[in-house]
Symmetry: C2
Subunit: 120 residues, 2 copies
């Protein structure tokens, strides 16, 4: 990884449900970085400026990436999907970085954290 | 990590929504493994035998873990939560392995994958 890391080691904040989670799981192609880290960081920066963006959690190990971004509602997800730079990054992902991915859009119905709440 | 890895580098299979995702994000305590890898592998083995378990995606990097497990319905999640060995593992997690975590239960409303479907 180079210079700017896309995600500092903090958890996305807790929000009051309902809201939406976009679960993006990837198998990385067995290649060198080819601009991945920079683009990933740029996408997080861009997302931060999107109306309705709530936060993101992302990790990568052993060829598998799991990124979950959180959004206020479906409209916010649709606007982010339509963003031109994001569309270009997705295209680059299919061309260079990923062997396969799955994307799931899910409505968060309940949530809890620790510390802050015991195991319910 | 030792011997048996909890997750091979494959993506959880695609299922027809609706179904449920449990999004478990963690900050790992700055300690040695202390049995984490073995317990994580055991929990995946146990979950595989649970009625209604659909799959799991998990990654860990830079102190942050993101694990998403998929379940047929809320009843399957409740049964897994009540499993005695799983309860013990959660208690060990709070005592030894985690500084903090968030758990979100979300209903997957739509999903697509690539290859297999173009970006919608």
């Amino acid at each position: 990884m180079t210079g700017q890391e896309p995600h500092p080691p903090t958890l996305a904040a807790a929000f009051e449900p309902p809201y939406y989670a976009v679960i993006f799981t990837t198998l990385r192609a067995p290649s060198s970085d080819q601009g991945y880290a920079q683009t990933a960081a740029e996408m997080v920066e861009l997302a931060l400026g999107q109306d309705g963006f709530l936060g993101i959690d992302s990790a990568y190990s052993e060829g598998l990436g799991v990124t979950v971004s959180y959004w206020r509602d479906e409209a916010a997800i649709a606007a982010w999907k339509a963003h031109g730079d994001h569309q270009a990054a997705r295209q680059a992902g299919r061309a260079k970085w990923y062997r396969a991915y799955q994307l799931r859009v899910a409505k968060v119905e309940r949530a809890y954290g620790w510390p802050g709440a015991e195991d319910k």
